[in-house]
Symmetry: C2
Subunit: 433 residues, 2 copies
């Protein structure tokens, strides 16, 4: 009788219509497929069962979260080989749909047969894998889902391991790929301050301030009075401590507040960095109008936001089920052209758009490296399933930026007064790091 890996490969080929581009290792230890490629490990028969129950990306994702599905070797390479096809423009639905072929009774029969014939699972994996196998039982689907869907309550200590000392959870601004994440994050914060032309005594509002890095840099380096708002109590407490430690409590205020509840405008400048992705198209016009109303005439907004490519068939667009379900439940991306149009319709004059796509890929690869370096700690601070999800989503996003499937843009918009005087310099060279 052929081993499980060989039969799994046959099953995958029948379902997907082409041979798997990576090697397979099944729960009985058998291997099959092209040598020298990363190995896709089905550590438990349950991985196949999940796929038969729920053909498509979500079945794969749940198997990954539970630790039943794994990769030995280069995770980026495995993702590129397995998912590369999914990333052709407009192709998500068609390709994702292929796994749905496992709904075919004949294929399901093959799958069920396969589950009967083989022992239940592989021996425990070597460190640092034990954290994952240990996590299998304690993480039911419901429990994983419920826990992981709260992106920003993962814990400050976990984010310290991933983001490093700069504690900035958005795209950095790299001088070169050889630079350090800390230098690149400081360069990004300073780039935003220069585009906003911050000056001593001005009032800055940072919408979605995270752990306070932006308001701290602006107050320390540009002498502004800053208000940072977040919806995360954990972030606010952390940011307040950093502000106090920096002796800036008199000039920097951190609030747990929704931007729609701000009553103490106007501000000279607003930064919104990595926050607008959570707004969604239904509320984006309101978001733009609210920020416009919070600025004095002549005030500036720097909107730093992830964008997706437009698609010929908008209905064909799907946020990755995995990321939508496990990472950013409310995330919604729009093409940058729509963002520019909606800011203009709110009354802003859009003066400058800078694409930073490659910068986000470098940033995400740094975060993945940090997470892998502190893997055991990260697992202890959160959970094996959550750590596995963060590693996968950050690696997948790095590839998405590199493949131009998504991008990220800094849009500088001005509440230009009726006089038409934008207050901007004729040349913008001083904005460039």
């Amino acid at each position: 009788m052929p081993e499980a890996a060989r039969r799994l490969a046959d099953l995958a080929q029948q379902a997907l219509g082409s041979p798997l581009p990576v090697r397979l290792r099944a729960w009985d230890g058998s291997e099959y497929g092209p040598p020298g490629t990363p190995v896709l490990v089905l550590r438990r028969r349950r991985a196949l069962r999940r796929l038969l129950w729920q053909p498509g990306e979500l079945g794969l994702a749940r198997a990954w979260v539970a630790g039943d599905l794994d990769v030995d070797g280069d995770l980026y390479e495995a993702l590129r080989l397995l998912a590369g096809h999914l990333w052709e423009r407009g192709g998500q639905r068609r390709r994702t749909g292929r796994l749905a072929a496992l709904r075919d009774p004949a294929l399901r029969a093959v799958g069920r047969e396969l589950l009967k014939l083989t022992p239940p699972w592989l021996p425990p994996a070597p460190p640092p894998e034990e954290a994952r196998t240990g996590g299998g039982a304690r993480h039911s689907l419901r429990r994983d889902k419920r826990a992981i869907s709260h992106h920003y309550d993962v814990g400050n200590a976990f984010y310290e391991r991933v983001l490093g000392p700069s504690m900035v959870y958005s795209c950095a601004y790299w001088e070169s790929p050889e630079g350090t994440l800390e230098d690149a994050q400081e360069a990004k914060l300073d780039l935003v301050c220069r585009k906003l032309a911050l000056a001593p005594g001005q009032r800055l509002l940072d919408v979605g301030c995270g752990w306070g890095s932006m308001v701290l840099h602006a107050a320390r380096t540009y002498g502004v009075r800053a208000v940072g708002i977040t919806l995360s109590e954990e972030q606010a407490a952390y940011a307040r401590k950093r502000v106090a430690d920096a002796g800036l409590a008199d000039r920097v205020e951190i609030r747990v507040q929704d931007y729609r509840e701000i009553a103490d405008g106007p501000f000279d400048a607003i930064s919104s960095i990595g926050m607008a992705e959570h707004v969604g198209s239904a509320r984006y016009a309101e978001y733009a109008a609210d920020l416009f109303a919070l600025l004095r005439p002549g005030g500036r907004l720097l909107n730093h936001q992830i964008a997706r490519r437009p698609l010929q068939d908008e209905t064909a667009y799907e946020v990755d089920e995995f990321i939508g379900r496990y990472v950013f439940p409310d995330g919604e991306l729009a093409p940058v052209g729509r963002t520019v149009a909606q800011l203009e319709e709110a009354g802003f004059e859009v003066r400058d758009v800078e694409a930073l796509r490659e910068h986000y890929a470098l940033t995400l690869r740094s975060w993945v490296a940090n997470l892998e370096r502190h893997w055991a700690e990260a697992v202890r601070l959160t959970s094996p399933g959550r750590a596995r999800v963060w590693r996968l989503y950050m690696a997948a996003c790095a590839l998405s930026f590199e493949a131009n499937r998504i991008g990220v843009n800094q849009v500088l918009a001005v509440r230009t007064p009726d006089s038409g005087e934008s207050g901007l310099p004729l040349r913008t060279r001083d904005w460039r790091g």
Copy 2:
């Protein structure tokens, strides 16, 4: 009996609902209105007759073209005072509609009475006005319209007087308002070349090459082989002579050709400077798709285009009747957000948007100054009516840019290959002049 000026002012106040912000001088020599303001001169009764026939901007425009309506004093100040209200966002229709009050029978009666009561015209105006009065009779509305509607057949000699030696008919890139037009135009051409990362041996296509300044600069300074296309035989002949005189005939080709007829792609880079305004929304998607198809993978497009503000009520938007009728019959402006979206939908990755609004105001004021300096020559080379139209449209456009009613943007878009490698530098400081 009160003089004509006083009665005209009363009529205007009844029609517009508020007193004229400028002084009036009527055909009988009488004056009325706030002292120290520019003087709006109704040189002939015909000016009023045109307004009664055709209330609204077009009646004013035709009176101006014929020389029956004039301004003594600062033309910019007169336009700002008279038209400033028209430029509130979304306000065009309402305000323009006010002049239509002259359709009111009672007001028309007042106007007709006024025409009967006073002598026909003012004595000839002092130089350089004589060119205008002399032009009155020879320029019927039909003849003016037919002649003036052909924007680019005005004659190279005329444009030499207006544009100066650089012969670039688009927004320059100013280091400071005190700089020279020639320096600013060279800086603009070089900025475009740097954004396109032109290198020796590459092929550049300049769509709408005008008198060849862009292809000449790119070939001379960056060593590219360039193709410039225009639909104007006059421009092509002029550009070919410049190319020959520069000894670049082996590397620069000028064609009278439509971009939809280009068969010798792909190109490494495409510049489209001040051309897309003529494309129109109906054909813009085709324009973007055609330029995309003309680029090699990794090739770049620099699209330099005038934009209008979006309006709450798009139906309320009117291109100035004057400019639409007399200057750019086919001109059509779109908000920059729509331009970015349409380039993305064609497959481009939009990497950089730079607003140059204030630069175009400085450029237009330089052109107006050139025209006024060479007024008699310009009139001789074209016609009094045409020279008057060019002076008015360029001054009005300068004010429109200053008032943020319109803008102009350089959009850098890349035909990014499937690998996702854009070929752009991490930082764009070297693009900034």
